[in-house]
């Protein structure tokens, strides 16, 4: 085998001033007062040998030096120390379409971008119609600024494709753009493989690496952590992620106790998540979730947290629906484990089909919901209620053991499954210390604000932290609201407001 790329103890340091840009004025000032000079080691003593025709995936967390490595191999950056030997022509495709000039025409841009990529004017003239055809762009006589980012991406790719190189350096380009474009990228990729080109692939899409690469390189903090068969490298990477998380969790624990639950839950969830991402058909979804995929933001930002769990729920449901029997079983087990380990916050259990299906086996029923009754102001149970009149929901429970401070909760949904309200006893601060045998908990609504329509109700009993369900009936109940005294023209609720003339 011929060696295509050989890196010998390559180190790349970036140095800059902490506070300001480099100026002469600044250099002059620093004679009197020293500014901190920050040195970051992006690549640290990396030695590597890549053979001709190998497809190599480069994986690692953000900022681990993946792109820097590509830039060094591609000759955009030169190493601080060590030697780099590259046999043959490289084509670095780091960010497609960087060179486009917004105010120039399509044709001008093709010539410009093409010549920067190293194509001659003659070649470009010959291939011009083909390039435009391939990009699928029809408006050939407008300025490129009228193009969508997707169109620009397709155009850039169509041009870059014309360059003939020996070593291709691809940074996330197989995972951007719409589906049609991705397909084109993929065909291109497969062609390169067939031609026996050397490819270095940087991506966050681990399943892609596991599937398409012969070999993967795992970087962390600029160091080579492992190098070997791609799917085992992916596994190794996942374990690193989780370990990093645990470290962060431990750090958080020292500062902030309540975070504990969430942190542990999160790191386990993440593991679950990564396992799910290994399925190839879920590749597309993974891209939408990854940005939120950071423990710190989840802890700090409620919205991000909500989004994360929402996405997760969607992912799980989607996966479950599209999985075959074997995969279904796998997902079920994952979810079961997650539930047993109390990973999901209360409100997110509700819509999970998998959970509902398996609810009987999952819940530890120390206390059960025996019956749920809807009663009107006269205390008569039924399921049609009048807007503006009193209504109460009774939860009749049966405890098998002494249960300390259980949390009773209901959730009311409209016909399109939007949660309207989800009161629970903890929220109202009416938790009773301990519960034995059987009894009734009632939620009283003085004046039903819901307008005409059908509503679904979930009822649950959780432990005091709201993390472990004892029993949970998802949207098992429902009632109808009708209008008599109040006449509305639409909407969901009657807000008990007044109009005033002055």
């Amino acid at each position: 085998m011929n060696v295509a790329i050989k890196l010998n103890a390559v180190t790349k340091n970036f140095s800059f001033y902490a506070k300001s840009e480099n100026t002469l004025f600044h250099s002059f000032k620093s004679i009197f007062k020293r500014d901190k000079h920050v040195v970051i080691s992006a690549i640290d003593r990396l030695s590597l040998e890549i053979n001709t025709g190998e497809i190599i995936g480069i994986i690692g967390p953000n900022g681990c030096g993946k792109t820097t490595l590509l830039k060094i191999v591609g000759g955009i950056l030169s190493p601080t120390k060590g030697t780099v030997k590259v046999m043959g022509k490289t084509l670095p495709l780091l960010e497609l379409g960087t060179a486009f000039q917004e105010s120039l025409s399509l044709k001008d841009n093709i010539f410009l971008y093409g010549s920067i990529l190293g194509l001659s004017t003659e070649t470009l003239k010959k291939r011009l119609t083909y390039i435009i055809d391939f990009s699928g762009i029809r408006q050939t006589d407008t300025n490129i600024k009228n193009f969508s980012s997707g169109m620009k991406l397709r155009l850039a790719f169509s041009i870059a494709k014309e360059v003939d190189a020996d070593i291709y350096l691809l940074d996330e380009i197989l995972t951007v753009g719409d589906e049609g474009f991705q397909k084109k990228c993929f065909v291109f990729f497969e062609n390169l493989k067939r031609q026996g080109k050397t490819i270095l692939l940087v991506t966050h899409d681990l399943s892609l690496v596991a599937r398409e690469c012969d070999r993967a390189i795992l970087l962390d903090n600029g160091k080579l952590v492992a190098d070997g068969e791609s799917s085992s490298m992916v596994k190794k990477y996942l374990s690193i992620i989780i370990n990093n998380d645990l470290k962060l969790v431990k750090k958080q624990l020292r500062v902030n106790k309540p975070v504990k639950e969430l942190s542990l839950a999160f790191s386990k969830l993440r593991m679950l998540f990564e396992q799910l991402l290994m399925f190839k058909q879920f590749r597309n979804i993974s891209n939408t979730i990854l940005p939120f995929y950071n423990l710190e933001t989840l802890i700090k930002n409620r919205e991000a947290k909500k989004l994360f769990f929402g996405e997760l729920r969607a992912l799980l449901n989607f996966c479950y629906e599209h999985a075959d029997e074997k995969e279904k079983l796998f997902i079920k087990n994952l979810v079961k484990n997650a539930l047993q380990e109390e990973l999901f916050p209360l409100e997110n259990n509700e819509m999970m089909k998998i959970v509902v299906e398996d609810s009987k086996t999952v819940f530890d029923k120390e206390i059960k919901i025996k019956k749920v009754l809807f009663k009107d102001e006269m205390g008569v149970d039924g399921n049609v209620f009048e807007t503006g009149k009193s209504m109460s929901i009774e939860i009749i429970y049966q405890a098998l053991k002494d249960v300390k401070r259980p949390m009773f909760g209901i959730a009311i949904f409209d016909s399109t499954d939007h949660l309207i309200t989800g009161p629970n006893t903890t929220f109202y601060n009416v938790t009773s210390e301990s519960i034995k045998n059987s009894g009734v908990v009632t939620y009283v609504i003085k004046s039903l604000p819901l307008l005409k329509g059908t509503y679904k109700v979930s009822v649950s009993i959780y432990d005091e932290l709201g993390s472990k369900p004892f029993d949970y009936h998802e949207k098992k109940y429902g009632f109808k609201a009708v209008e008599k005294d109040i006449k509305s023209l639409g909407g969901i609720i009657n807000m008990d407001g007044r109009w005033i003339y002055k």
Partner: protein, 253 residues
């Protein structure tokens, strides 16, 4: 990248530069001609009418100086600016970076050449004799090009390292305009300072070029020798300095 591809690249970058600057219209070019012409008019009013400078063919005398200076200032400033505007390109793509500077200088040079045509047109209109000595002009044009390119390469490297170079250079350009014989003749410079004054290579080039175009004057061999050496040296030093530093451009810019 092979030679023909490099040539294609420079050509494309130059064309792009032109299109961006003039938006593809002839009118666009006239705007860039307007600037030196207005300067010419102002300086002519001040120096010929108010201060009564007595130089034959003063408008033409002034114009050739302004155009030459304009080429130097535009070429260098455009080169530095092209480093700014092509920042992302330098950071993310692999290509010979010097082609950005070369194309900026070529673009300014082309404008300079077109402006020279206007100069000759003006000569004809004003019925000034064109002497045989004008044949040395191409030689000076090549010298000027090398000088400006070398300076631009050098300044661009400095710019990458020190972002305030552009301000300092603008100041130098203002200063340089007045310590170069553009609006006045070197006769006005006191003799004891003339030696230092003539260290400015552009002073020699402008004096010789002007002499050849307007006064039927053949430059001395000594002057030709000095200006050639300085131009070549500026170019070589600038190019080597640029080449050496360009390895670190992607991270420093």
């Amino acid at each position: 990248m092979g030679f023909s591809n490099r040539f294609s690249l420079i050509k494309q970058l130059t064309i792009t530069g032109f299109k961006l600057r003039y938006r593809g219209s002839v009118l666009g070019y006239f705007w860039s001609l307007l600037n030196p012409l207005l300067l010419l008019l102002t300086l002519y009013i001040v120096f010929a009418l108010f201060m009564k400078i007595n130089i034959p063919n003063y408008p033409l005398y002034l114009l050739i100086g302004i155009l030459t200076w304009n080429f130097l200032s535009e070429g260098t400033v455009m080169s530095i600016n092209s480093m700014v505007s092509n920042r992302e390109l330098i950071r993310k793509m692999k290509f010979p970076t010097q082609s950005i500077i070369i194309s900026s200088c070529v673009a300014s040079f082309v404008v300079f050449l077109i402006n020279l045509l206007i100069f000759f047109l003006l000569m004809v209109i004003l019925k000034v004799n064109i002497y045989f000595t004008a044949v040395v002009l191409p030689f000076y044009l090549i010298e000027l090009f090398m000088l400006v390119l070398g300076l631009s390469l050098f300044l661009s490297v400095l710019y990458v390292r020190y972002k305030d170079v552009i301000h300092i250079w603008n100041f130098f350009l203002l200063l340089g305009f007045w310590i170069t014989p553009i609006v006045y003749s070197t006769d006005l410079v006191p003799f004891e300072y003339l030696r230092f004054y003539m260290l400015n290579p552009l002073a020699r080039i402008i004096v010789d070029m002007r002499g050849a175009l307007l006064d039927n004057f053949i430059p001395t061999l000594k002057n030709i020798f000095i200006t050639t050496i300085i131009s070549i040296l500026t170019f070589v030093v600038g190019y080597v300095f640029f080449k050496k530093s360009s390895k670190r451009f992607a991270e420093e810019i």
